[in-house]
Amino acid sequence: MVPNERETWGFSDGLASGNQFKHFRKKHPREYVSCFANLEKVRFFLGEGHTMGQLSLGFLGSEGEGLWRVGQSRVPHAKESRLYVFADEETRTLHILGIGTKETQARDIKEAKETIRKTFRKKE
């Protein structure tokens, strides 16, 4: 696919597990909404021509290997939450990979990185 400079950033949920998201939403509804609202800020930012590495935002952090976590913010008594995404510059797509809490982060990160390796690195 030829990248189109004017093409706007969008999302893809094809690599995400629906059950994981349904379960998380049920257990942490406010955090779920906050994480996605913050992801929209990231999308807006990328649309302005910036790269993920240039974004200095409190709720955004790199996990390495192209994996980024988007956290919740300003949710009173919130459970530390992380929405995992991969930004594909070529297609201008933010791939949503997983969601979890601080307790499940080791496993979530491992799985998300595995997905990135299988799906995107093999193309290189």
């Binding site: 949920d13 349904k22 300003r74």
Partner: protein
């Protein structure tokens, strides 16, 4: 791989399997427009949170807090200080939805007038620089023509939804322009407008 989805609320709702989630995310995004705009302005200026904080004379954690919340968490004074630290002027637009439509339309037109006056102020800053002045003339001409076209189009749209008697209709500049063109035997004055687009 699945197709690209353009709406964050749609993707959040889909993954949660719950339409209520979609509405909640949509509302939160709507309530974060100003915050998002502030972040975008900072990014355009290439400034870090720390640089903005230094300019505002506050701790960087305050900037992080502002940017991670939504518009409802913002303090007016902080917003003013934030944009000022970026060297940006801010104008406020208040729209009273209880006013009659005719008054609101008039206010919109007055806002356009104010914006055009703003152009005069900008032009004053480059007065005397021939190259820039020429570009402004050229640009202003194009903008004016396009504005007239859109103004006319907007007015026609308005006429299609409200009833205005012929005696009440003002003569639009574009119409006058066309009339003058016709009087002078110009084949197609309108063509000139389109070409300037």
């Amino acid at each position: 791989m699945s197709k690209k989805i353009m709406s964050i609320s749609e993707v959040a709702g889909r993954l949660a399997g719950d339409p209520e989630t979609e509405k909640e995310v949509e509302e939160e995004v709507r309530n974060s427009r100003l915050v998002t705009a502030l972040i975008a302005l900072r990014a355009r200026k290439g400034m870090s949170q720390k640089q903005v904080a230094d300019a505002m004379g506050c701790d960087p954690s305050k900037i992080s807090k502002m940017e991670s919340g939504n518009d409802l968490n913002l303090r007016w004074g902080d917003v003013l200080a934030y944009v000022r630290s970026l060297g940006i002027n801010m104008s406020l637009c208040l729209d009273d939805s209880t006013l009659p439509a005719a008054v609101r339309i008039k206010q919109c037109v007055m806002q356009i007038h104010d914006l055009l006056q703003g152009l005069v102020e900008i032009a004053k800053q480059v007065k005397g620089e021939a190259e820039i002045t020429d570009k402004i003339h050229q640009f202003y001409g194009e903008v004016l023509l396009n504005f007239l076209l859109r103004f006319d189009s907007g007015y026609q749209d308005l006429l299609s939804v409200i009833r205005v008697s012929d005696s009440e209709k003002p003569s639009l500049p574009a119409e006058r322009h066309e009339a003058v063109g016709a009087e002078r035997g110009s084949a197609n004055t309108d063509r000139g407008l389109v070409e300037a687009r």
